[in-house]
């Protein structure tokens, strides 16, 4: 709603405004600068703390029991755990989310089901992740799903990389759906009609025309989803187990022994290593938080890159 084109410099100054309006503008500036200050403070503080406490050996040594922060190893298991969870969860959420979005935009019949689906996706976005986690404990301690986690004497442990990833994919799902829908909706009707006119089926149009065109939005959705997945802690605490090391299951073969076992991620490590957690090693918590922050920054940069590329390619509207 740009009132005036700021680049042309023809902006009505605030000099003629009433005092109350000018005070409002001052509040705007103050809050805007406060936001910047908070962001800078977070980044600078974590960089300083992270670089001073992060030892590269921490990235390669697993956590171990010890009396001091020097003895208790690093967080390689947590780092690997974050990567495993991210890959598994997004590889569930991405196809499901894209498929849901395609159905909603391209098919969407019966209309009642489409409306229900829309509200479902919205509802999933609003569900606290701790509730998802509790629901996960019910699903995955079911004996029928015992093959997804540790089982001993008929009792299913219900905590594993499978369980955590499945629930985390629900956290990412609404973001993927929303972003993909936006992409599909921005493709004008005549593009589809042109494709049908040359004899392509609807399915082929989706596969060959619509999905490739909305790739930037799908990628954005996936990366936003990834950000939420690697940042989530509640589901990890509940469904991945309260351990700082991989706890592979003996009876399964690689890699399923690890995936069925309990583990940890960076978020869980930060939580446990903070003063309120069980480990209380603030220096390592800072180091792990720094690594986590770097991942988030990288994801943000990637989203920016995709956006800029997509803008360069241009849109359909001309």
């Amino acid at each position: 709603m740009l009132l005036v084109d700021k680049r042309k410099g023809a902006v009505e100054g605030s000099a003629t405004w009433a005092l109350s309006d000018r005070i409002g503008l001052v509040i705007c500036w103050a809050l805007g600068l406060l936001f910047c200050a908070i962001a800078v403070a977070i980044v600078v503080y974590l960089f300083v703390k992270g670089i001073s406490y992060l030892d590269l050996s921490m990235l390669t040594t697993p956590a171990s029991a010890g009396f001091s922060q020097a003895e208790s190893g690093g967080f390689s298991d947590a780092l690997l755990g974050t990567l495993i969870v991210a890959v598994m969860a997004i590889s569930l959420a991405l196809p499901a989310g894209v498929a849901t979005a395609i159905w909603l935009v391209e098919y969407g019949r019966p209309a009642a089901l489409a409306r229900i689906t829309e509200s479902t996706i919205e509802a999933i976005a609003g569900i606290p992740s701790i509730v998802l986690a509790l629901f996960g404990t019910v699903i995955f301690s079911n004996t029928a799903l015992g093959f997804l986690s540790r089982t001993s004497e008929g009792v299913v442990f219900g905590r594993s990389f499978f369980a955590a990833s499945a629930m985390l994919s629900l956290v990412a799902l609404p973001l993927v759906v929303a972003s993909t829908r936006e992409g599909l909706n921005s493709i004008p009707r005549h593009v589809r009609e042109a494709s049908y006119a040359v004899g392509k089926t609807k399915a082929a149009t989706v596969r060959r025309i619509l999905l490739p065109t909305s790739r930037p939005q799908v990628a954005t959705g996936a990366m936003l989803g990834l950000g939420r997945i690697i940042g989530d802690t509640a589901i990890i605490i509940v469904l991945l187990g309260a351990t700082q090391n991989f706890a592979p299951v003996e009876e399964a073969s690689f890699p399923f022994n690890y995936l069925r076992g309990a583990g940890t991620t960076l978020t869980n490590f930060v939580y446990e290593a903070s003063p309120t957690g069980n480990l209380n090693q603030p220096e390592k918590a800072y180091a792990a938080a720094f690594v986590l922050l770097l991942m988030v920054l990288a994801l943000n940069a990637a989203v920016d890159l995709v956006h800029r590329r997509a803008r360069k390619v241009g849109t359909w509207s001309h």
């Binding site: 709603m1 740009l2 009132l3 700021k6 009505e12 605030s14 409002g24 503008l25 705007c28 809050l31 805007g32 936001f35 910047c36 962001a39 977070i42 974590l46 498929a99 849901t100 159905w103 098919y107 509802a123 999933i124 976005a125 609003g126 569900i127 606290p128 701790i130 509730v131 998802l132 509790l134 629901f135 019910v138 629900l170 089926t201 609807k202 399915a203 082929a204 596969r207 940042g231 802690t233 509640a234 509940v238 309260a242 978020t267 930060v270 939580y271 903070s274 003063p275 309120t276 603030p282 918590a285 800072y286 938080a289 986590l292 922050l293 988030v296 994801l299 943000n300 989203v303 920016d304």
Partner: protein, 330 residues
């Protein structure tokens, strides 16, 4: 057969089949949500049915009650379900309400600033800043809160006299409502800003130009026309942020103080320094008690309350947006 010409998308990928496959998947997602709602409420039922409406009321020490519930399940004798969640609910209301109000105020100003009043270089800085703040994991906010903000409040803001005045009741160490509200506001305000800016950007230019043409200055045009027409987006953003705030578990478990205590505003300003524990962090803190059946039911009851309030918020937001459809922005 294999050598014959086959269209790229033969019968295997016919339209009907693809539509049915996608439809089945969508039904699966809907079914999963329904299953979740049903499961949570069924699991929660014993706790609600034993306590009735007193579940939501005050009475006794919540932490002792939770402990008794857990132990009765371990012992396997008669299960105890007595649970009065008021301190937890009150803490949720205070923390969520406080931070949503502050966040709404500041997000509105920042969104207006970004869209309309900031010079171009400033809005080019602010937009990535907002996106960054929205994507910082909650556990990092929690860590910074616990290692920076909480000690600061405990050492500098709370005076010794204040600590002594409530020494018999609760210890003021910096884990407080104030810390929780400050950090939670920082977490949810960026979410609001990004939705508000989208809403403000899609206000019809003609409406604003009409106001400007009547000689109303830019500031008042933006607030009287722009912000008012963007109300559906403001409701949507507020609802999303509130849902986020209510469900925030880990960060609040780290800095809210984790005591089942209901801060009393009647005590004067000191109540913002008092620790408490909202509903969601209670689940995180007691998660290893899931194996005890009555504790399991109690935790699911808390989850059911969270789920219900999340649903209530989406519904309110939906209704509010419906009634404002005439403004034409989502």
């Amino acid at each position: 057969m294999n050598e014959e010409f086959q269209p790229e998308y033969g019968p295997k990928w016919s339209d009907q089949r693809v539509e049915r496959m996608l439809g089945a998947l969508v039904c699966g997602v809907v079914g999963l949500l329904l299953a979740m709602i049903v499961t949570v409420f069924v699991r929660a039922w014993p706790s609600f049915s034993h306590n009735g409406l007193a579940w939501f009321g005050p009475g006794g020490n919540v932490d002792d009650q939770l402990n008794a519930i857990f132990l009765s399940g371990q012992a396997g004798t008669e299960y105890v379900y007595t649970f009065h969640a008021w301190p937890l609910i009150w803490s949720t209301l205070l923390i969520t309400g406080g931070s949503v109000l502050i966040a709404l105020f500041s997000a509105l100003f920042v969104a207006v600033f970004v869209v309309e009043f900031a010079p171009e270089w400033m809005s080019n800085i602010l937009q990535p800043v907002v996106r960054f703040l929205a994507s910082v994991p909650s556990v990092i906010y929690g860590l910074l809160g616990v290692l920076v903000l909480v000690p600061f409040i405990g050492n500098h803001l709370v005076s010794e006299g204040q600590k002594a005045s409530v020494a018999g009741v609760i210890s003021l160490s910096g884990y407080s409502l104030l810390a929780a509200i400050v950090v939670l506001t920082t977490m949810i305000a960026p979410l609001m800003v990004s939705i508000f800016t989208d809403g403000l950007r899609s206000v019809k230019p003609g409406w604003l130009e009409g106001s400007l043409a009547l000689g109303v200055n830019r500031w008042r045009t933006t607030w009287k026309i722009g912000v008012r027409s963007a109300r559906p987006a403001i409701v949507a953003g507020t609802v999303l942020a509130t849902a986020r705030a209510i469900g925030e578990a880990v960060m609040l478990a780290m800095i809210s103080g984790s005591v089942g205590f209901a801060p009393n505003p009647a005590d004067g300003l000191i109540f913002i320094y008092e620790p408490s524990r909202p509903l969601a962090p209670t689940i995180v803190k007691n998660i290893d008690q899931l194996s005890s059946p009555p504790a399991n039911a109690t935790l699911f009851a808390i989850a059911a309350v969270l789920l219900f309030s999340a649903a209530l918020f989406s519904l309110t937001g939906y209704m509010a947006r419906r009634s404002m459809r005439k403004y034409g922005t989502a």
